[in-house]
């Protein structure tokens, strides 16, 4: 019996999210007195794989197949489910990121395993197995009982701290046979930005709303984000107007993020916007309207014109770096 964690790799590399996930899995495994098996699909070298052992993975396995070069939900779910059965895994853990959301529901049906999706704490109890998850887009949290023998959890991003727990596990790489016709997804074109901090990975996010007044005013905001090693984001009206690309939209229907620091600049803080950012550890609001609802969600606030405040913040961060 084991806790299986699916550690996605990005071109053979892991990132902070992977280590949070393995740390979470080993804490769950400790509660259950089981071992953690970390599984990845697709080639990652041994040095990279070994890193998962720093966070409690007792077994690290990399499954490789020439068939599994693009994400095919059906094939990936089958490979993970087969492996979970072979390992006798009782809890299977994914990130609640795009891949986790794509695979966990398919595994749920394959293994008849109930899902606790977007959990942000360790299980509240083991009997009955109860998890804590976001509901009503952040307006509530639900305690969900999972009744099935096998349980699937998807962990909300940036909700669990990395815990070092070296095991010295030696990674194994195994070639697997996939029935060719099982892979039905073909990718015909890929557009990818490189060298930019992803919004969903960023510890610091600097976000602008309609209070920025014009798409031409973004330079100091972008500069501030870059000085802080953060990512840029925006509110829905801004992406709807085409001032900023739609992948920057944070909010209920856009990206849901949970950075350590979220700077909301010229964002009024409608319920739908807060739904996407309310799990941030610190929220800073800068808005000229002192009654804007964003101040109710913020720990730090400046009532003032973004165009006047931003250059001062840029300067202060530059001084910090001197």
């Amino acid at each position: 019996m084991s806790v299986l964690v699916y550690a996605e790799n990005w071109d053979g590399k892991f990132k902070k999210l992977s280590y949070e996930l393995v740390s979470y899995a080993s804490s769950v495994a400790e509660m259950l007195k089981m071992d953690v098996v970390a599984l990845t699909i697709g080639k990652a070298d041994d040095d990279e794989l070994r890193k998962l052992g720093n966070f409690g993975a007792a077994k690290i396995i990399s499954l490789v197949s020439a068939q599994l070069t693009v994400l095919d939900n059906q094939a990936y779910a089958k490979v993970i489910a087969d492996y979970a059965l072979k390992e006798g895994s009782k809890v299977i853990i994914f990130s609640n990121n795009m891949t986790g959301k794509a695979l966990a529901p398919r595994l749920s049906v394959k293994l008849k395993a109930g899902i606790g999706s977007g959990v942000s704490k360790l299980p509240l109890s083991l009997d009955p197995f109860t998890v804590y998850k976001r509901a009503y887009s952040g307006n509530a949290f639900a305690h969900v009982i999972i009744r099935s023998d096998i349980k699937i959890l998807t962990l909300a991003q940036n909700s669990f701290d990395v815990i070092e727990k070296p095991t010295g596990a030696v990674p194994e790489t195994a070639a697997i046979d996939i029935d060719g016709p099982l892979v039905k997804t073909t990718v015909t074109e890929t557009h990818k930005q490189t060298g930019k901090i992803l919004l969903t990975d960023a510890d610091i996010v600097v976000s602008g709303g309609r209070g920025m007044k014009s798409p031409d005013n973004w330079a100091p905001l972008v500069e501030l984000a870059s000085l802080l090693n953060g990512a840029t984001a925006c509110s829905r009206p801004v992406s709807d107007e085409g001032w900023r690309p739609h992948e920057e939209h944070t909010g209920q229907t856009g990206k849901i993020i949970a950075p350590n620091l979220y700077l909301a600049i010229g964002i009024s803080g409608a319920t739908q916007h807060l739904a996407g950012i309310s799990s941030s550890k610190y929220i800073v609001a800068i808005n000229s309207d002192k009654d804007a609802p964003i101040f109710e969600a913020a720990q730090y606030g400046i009532v003032g014109d973004a165009m006047k405040v931003l250059p001062k913040l840029v300067e202060a961060v530059k001084n910090l770096k001197k």
Binding site: N73, N96, M98, V109, F141, I146, H191
Partner: protein, 249 residues
Amino acid sequence: MKILVCISNVPDTTTKIKFAEGNTSIDTSGIQWVINPWDELSLTRALELKDDASSGVKSVTVAHVGTAMSEPTIRKALAIGADDAIRINYNAPDAYSVAAQLAEAIKKEGFDIIMCGIESSDFNGSAVGGMISEFLGIPSVSSVSGLKIENGTPVLTREIDGGRESVKVPVPFVAVVQKGIAKEPRIASMRGIMTARTKPVRLYEPIAAESLTEIAGFEKPALRAACKYIDPENAAQLIELLQNEAKVI
């Protein structure tokens, strides 16, 4: 080509959520029920495709698992432009049982493209679409932000970390859609509202289905500390507080 759009009936996204029955359910009094935002965008895209004769999309059906209470939401989808609807008369306890019911109806009626929203704004489970595809043993594509039909072949845009890719899978398949699939949700016209009354809603009785999870209770998010205001003339103080007090930079 036939498209099915699965719709969920959820409280309006600006609703202040209150709990009832010892925090085990929500207080539904005064709640305005709407089509789940992502499902509404899916429906909009499905109708755009049908409007374009070259797409080969012949019909757009909506399907919903719920009691008669959801009837207004189904009529709204018909008013927006869906041709017909399926309602499975079942008060489903979890995503698994919703997906089992929908999969059964899809087996009976047959569709080429099944569209589901990435999550419902009430339980935020992100599960039903993927589950349906597995119940049916058909492909699924998740994080879909675009759907076109080129020479009779569906082409999907899938969001990936830091970008997007164009993806093809054979029909029938499930597309789990998110922002970008359509710009603005389509609004019902007066004519649409009139014709919606006479459009067919096929009522199915539920199959025996299990559920795997249940909600034991709800709690409110923890209250945040009151906002600490910084003088705009002295904005640099904010950076100092973030560094020394919050310790986040």
